[in-house]
Amino acid sequence: MKTLFTISWRNIWRHPARSSVLLAAIIVGLWAGVVTVGIINGLMQQRIDYMIESEITHAQVHNPDFLAEGYSWLYIPDHDEITAWLENDDRVTSFTSRTITDGMLQSPIKTSGVRIRGINIDSEIRTTNFHENIVEGEYLDSDIRNAVIIGQKLANDHNVEVGNRIVLTFEDTGNELTSGSFNIAGIFKSASVDYDERNVFIRSDEFIALLGDEEVYHEIGIMLADEELAGPVVEELNEAFPGIHAQTWRQLSPELSMLVELGGYMVILITMIIMIALAFGILNTMLMALFERMREIGMLLSIGMSRLRVFSMIMLESIILTITGAAVGIILATLSINYFSDTGINLEMFAEGAAQVGWDHIIYPILSSTEYIIILAVVVIITLLASVYPAIKGIRINPLEAAKDG
């Protein structure tokens, strides 16, 4: 085996330029692939973290019909019992109750459909970091009466700014149309332009006063010690309170959940595309090397080297070349990912476009150990497949090639 390894290794370096080019292609290809996968993962994780931490939270509780219909009278029954249950559960790190309904926003120039979110400032700040999105003015903890914060896109569309007034119109819990005049205290800019266009925030106590006589809540957002706890907590809530519908973030946002699954497929897909392209390079190089060595391989077979050994020798050449390239490529990629996972990759030039689809322009690439293993497995499998054909060609060489002229 040592001899086979030696002969294979030296055969690789018989044409240093050719092998170096192939090695460089493997290194750069794999580095680019791994870093791309890391960036995609980073983008997905950023989206997931942002959505969970700023809005969705790990789990939510609603009236079973609220999400489909959005009426203010579809509030959560047993709200106080549920919050008491949450307060006593160690897995729950924080929660916040929200009063929500769909309505209309009127400004002097136009009217838009919006979702009005009444929030409890203290518990909201403990539970989400949405308040960090304020880009102008203040959050709802300002002294302004009937304060509202609106998204930057909505503010631009309505040509309004901090200090202006808008009117919010909605149905109250008694099914009556109600309006309220609100003062713009602040303007927020989240990672999603779409979200900024469709949501406004007011204080829940002021909202409740307009909605009806009783204190009603339509949503409880819950943050847990670990994302993995969402499933069990939701299950227990649904069992304990049959009149509600508790859901995990994956259930609430299937597109977000799909992103996570997609991430897994992307690793395999991107690595496979890169490796298939490289496989043709390996195949081409190995076939060229083989055709140049027909007489030599004929000689090896003549003097008594078994076809299995010839097969192994050719396979080893491809494997050594690819494994060397893959190892260097992955080391470089790991170093790059580790570096950028701290500093982030600043895609300032794409900031506007990224914001349109809800992404921040600073990306922190991530790659799990499982993904490294998947990438290595794909590299090894495709290399083996690419090496088999030249190796089979090699063992079919007639020993008489050794005696041929020319």
Binding site: T3, I7, M299, L300, R307, A402, A403
Partner: protein, 235 residues
């Protein structure tokens, strides 16, 4: 006892299209210690005969016995192993492994035979000394002249301790001095160690030194004669 024996050996290429009769009922015997040249013009069948004797090709009909063992009916893998243990090859184009040194080239065949490492090193060094390349054992083929490369090839052929050595046009690419030097070495080994050599050649320098000369014409043996060289008389 004959080391090599062929019985009515025939080889027809392209039997279904344009048949070419490379060998026609060739029956010969080669005994241990012979220094035999197979001569003939191009296309006379001398290389085909050597390929059959070396187990590199299969006859259309007839048999090849090496040390009493029929090799033409052997399975491919068995024949490869048989060649490894019993036959040494020297090719016209030397066919050394270019990425190996002279010593590694000679050792390689013994490694295939799975011999003891110490024994391999020792024997490789001895053989390179015998062919006059003791000082060049770490040189790669590209650093050696044609004559030196062919001497390494002879050392490699001897390394496996074969029953006989087949040399296909061994001097064809060598100048006179190198050719004579190579023939001296092979003759010496034949004399001193009783190594059996069979050459295919149309080089008069080789034919003059051979003790037995088989002449082939149109795939058949035309003449099989013993030459009384000085060496033979000494023997």
């Amino acid at each position: 006892m004959a080391i090599v024996r062929t019985e009515k050996l025939s080889k027809v290429y392209n039997p279904d299209t344009v048949p070419v009769h490379a060998l026609r009922d060739v029956s010969i015997e080669i005994n241990e210690g012979e220094f035999t040249a197979v001569r003939g013009p191009s296309g006379s069948g001398k290389t085909t005969l050597l390929n059959m004797i070396g187990g590199l090709d299969k006859p259309t009909s007839g048999n090849v016995f090496i040390n009493g063992q029929e090799i033409s009916k052997m399975k491919d893998s068995k024949r490869i192993d048989f060649r490894l243990q019993n036959i040494g090859f020297v090719f016209q184009h030397y066919n050394l492994i270019p990425v190996f040194t002279a010593r590694e080239n000679v050792s390689f065949i013994m490694l295939l035979q799975k011999r003891n490492k110490k024994e391999i090193q020792q024997r490789a060094d001895e053989l390179l000394e015998q062919v006059g390349l003791g000082e060049r054992k770490d040189a790669r083929p590209v650093q050696l002249s044609g004559g030196q490369q062919q001497r390494v090839a002879v050392a490699r052929a001897l390394a496996s301790e074969p029953k006989f050595i087949l040399a296909d046009e061994p001097t064809a690419n060598l100048d006179t001095e190198s050719a004579m030097n190579l023939l001296d070495i092979m003759e010496k080994m034949n004399h001193e160690q009783n190594v059996t050599f069979v050459f295919s050649t149309h080089d008069q320098r080789v034919i003059d030194r051979a003790r037995r000369v088989i002449t082939m014409v149109d795939g058949a043996i035309h003449k099989d004669e013993i030459q009384h060289t000085d060496e033979k008389q000494d023997a």
